[in-house]
Symmetry: C2
Amino acid sequence: MNNKLQFDYYIGIDIGGTRTRVARFSDNFKLEKKSVIETPLYEKNPKELLEEISNKIQDLKKSNLKFAIGISAPGPCDTKMGIVKNPPNLPGWGEVRVSEFFKDKFDTHVCLENDANAAALAEYKIGSGKGYKNIVYFTLSTGIGGGIIINGKIYRGFEDSAGEFGHQIVLLNGPKCRCGSKGCLEAVSSGYAISRDALSKTLVRKSGILYEIYKKNGTIKAQDVFLASSQGDDISWKILNKAITYMGIGISNVITVFSPECVVLGGGLTNQEYIIDEIRNFVTTHVKMAPINKIKIVKSSLGDGSSLYGSILNIIELQ
Amino acid sequence: MNNKLQFDYYIGIDIGGTRTRVARFSDNFKLEKKSVIETPLYEKNPKELLEEISNKIQDLKKSNLKFAIGISAPGPCDTKMGIVKNPPNLPGWGEVRVSEFFKDKFDTHVCLENDANAAALAEYKIGSGKGYKNIVYFTLSTGIGGGIIINGKIYRGFEDSAGEFGHQIVLLNGPKCRCGSKGCLEAVSSGYAISRDALSKTLVRKSGILYEIYKKNGTIKAQDVFLASSQGDDISWKILNKAITYMGIGISNVITVFSPECVVLGGGLTNQEYIIDEIRNFVTTHVKMAPINKIKIVKSSLGDGSSLYGSILNIIELQ
């Protein structure tokens, strides 16, 4: 990759619901040093989180060298104005002028991107989607999000709102989604949905592996359901089977509409390798109009670092 | 629109399952003269249809003036090579090298486009989608198809297969689709699906308005179901209600994924004006992530001429 810019190094910031990462990258995008902040410590206090990020940047800064700042944050974002807008994943934030804050603080170039778009860009530039022209990226995690790269550029859509793959309706009159609609992919197939279904079924059944987990921890996480399923728990298997089938539908539909050359799957749920195999099986048998046998369905190679990498790779894209 | 090309006029050809249109357009894209061929007269004889089209072109030609030929045809098409590839809507065609045929015949510039893409382009350039940057076009007819315009250009996807909106899966384990999959939007909400459901229900019920139509005509068309519904037939209303609800899902999902500024609805089913109102109501209440109140949902203004216009407008796009 050519770096034709006038910056000596880059600072990347990935604001997440659980963790916020701040890192320094060389002028050719190698990670040099990283700090992690527990985001919930600053819940409902975005300004304090931004101050803490600034402290980390001060520690990472190299004196007398020119740097730019790239930020990725949960959507929705106004990327042109650099504003994070009431993200469901950051409760109590409201609208926060993130770019302006860092511009004022460090008097340098700052750019903001939605985290799923940033991840898609990183996978396209240096990850599993490298070498293709049009790719889509799915994050399958507590929520389900996505990003679209067309001709090597992030496709943002009207008011930065494209790529909300988790909010396709896959089940008419299905479970309520946190977006306010019903039967969205996220409400049926996400880590949150798996955990919700496991909890409600377990509280009725009051026996079995999941109930033991519930008694111990007071809750059931998606990863508990994977574990129970691998130990032969029938209810867990059914919950996962339903979730993965609808994931297959959501991913098939994006392929049918977009016909990308490559689909990159990231997010915590893909740590269960068999999910990717199941999705690949589903789309291969259900997608008929796109050349499905030539379309690559691959796991993210950057893992949970994809948005952080994307935040700085986005700087050169936007110049 | 500027016409900076070296052609004095254009010939547009729109090959359809029912009718094929051949027309002459001025250098500034005004329709001058049009001929219509009944396509089924040449069923399974694509070469004979192409010969008949050539005869029409001979009649339309102006001596000593330079012209180009634009063709729209049912997909799938290889637009680069100018090949129509086993279109389900033209039974018995196989692969036909349409562009080569007319190039050899008239020794001029020829370009081919999928009919839904051509229609989308025409709506973007001179129809209901004029003035927007990113639009999607749905054709709601016997089948359901679509086209995508991004930054004013047709988005074709991998091997020209993008925009197959009718083959999103909207109903898990739903009715078989002619594409080979199950529960596709086309298998649930198209004119074909409405007609199929009406027929199967009527043959069980053996009474009512639809049964009278069936006895008279030996079949039930989608337009019969609209008529019966308007006359208070309860079964017709239920069939249409289901079809339109799933249309709402399919269109909502494309909006959620793409976030276009404008959705243009064309095809025979949109002649029932209330369908557009129903779809608008559905998407307004179900799409939460895109700025749905700012996104225009409008009827095609070019009607069944959109693909024909698109065929010639595509010539200047591709140069």
